[in-house]
Amino acid sequence: MKKERQSIENLLEFLNKYSTEPNLLWNVPHLYEKEEILVQWMYDKTTKLNWYFKLKSAEIWNVSDIRSLMSFLIEKKADLSQFELEVLKIICIQAVCAHYYIEKAGELIGKDKIDSSIEVLREALSRRAIESESQEKTLVKKVPRLKLINKKKKKKNLHD
């Protein structure tokens, strides 16, 4: 349970940091009963309390942080696996869209410019990882190159 909780908290931290949508909503099923739990994420830069949650039948929303949300879900015996799956789906869609943004931006303003911009970021990320390593004595996070999928090229190869 502790591991599962940590895993979901990591995913929710991702949304706090990166979500490109102003709000997100999930109906989380209960493990044993029919009642659902509603979980909503809304961006709030000021309070950082981005998480709204309640039993579907309740009138008042709780507004709090990730830890409180997780405590609530565990206390109410929500189906955490299902919730994790739905959150992963959202993250994947956002990653797909981000990937697409990079690809389409490359077509619009030139792949060279995009590559050099990404190179600067890769260096910054590597530096950050090295600094983090020296501080925390953890492994350096390897920053891989982003391999943009070129469908047209692939199709051409198939014909070849």
Binding site: L11, Q94, A95, V96, C97, I149
Partner: protein
């Protein structure tokens, strides 16, 4: 020499992908010391473009299709505008790259790429449609609803 068509492509891209809720730029004019402020924001699901000359305090709303011609008529330096729009897009590219890397870390590079490949055609159609100006709906919301 930047054309109105070039500028329209840039602003439609920025509008269609809606990775910000509001943006603004100040662009110099070519033959005077004046400048123009341009703003883009979303209000009640509607995408709004407006501009203002440095010599007035009144904002004028316009459509994305009319904005480039209007700016050109007012002597705005379209080359400078293109540079600023490129910088806006590039800053988002960095953010998008960081997002993808974090997603790799969370649930594996292969899984993300499988998903990307699976949705590639669908995404391509949607993005092309949005960039061609047929719709100003949120790109991300469209994908999610599939």
């Amino acid at each position: 020499m930047t054309s109105c068509e070039d500028i329209l492509k840039y602003i439609t891209f920025i509008e269609a992908l809606r990775s910000n809720s509001s943006l603004s730029w100040t662009i110099p004019c070519l033959n005077s010391n004046d400048s123009f402020d341009i703003e883009w924001f979303v209000l009640e699901e509607k995408s709004i473009w407006r501009y203002k000359s440095s010599t007035t305090s009144d904002w004028i709303e316009t459509s994305n299709a009319n904005l480039p011609n209007t700016l050109l008529r007012n002597g705005v330096d379209l080359d400078s505008l293109q540079v600023l729009l490129s910088e806006t897009i590039l800053s988002k590219v960095s953010y998008a790259y960081d997002l993808v890397q974090e997603a790799f870390g969370l649930f594996g590079e292969d899984k993300v790429y499988n998903k990307i490949e699976h949705q590639h055609n669908l995404l391509e159609q949607e993005v092309d449609r949005l960039i061609s100006g047929d719709s100003s709906l949120s790109f991300l919301r469209l994908i999610k609803n599939k």
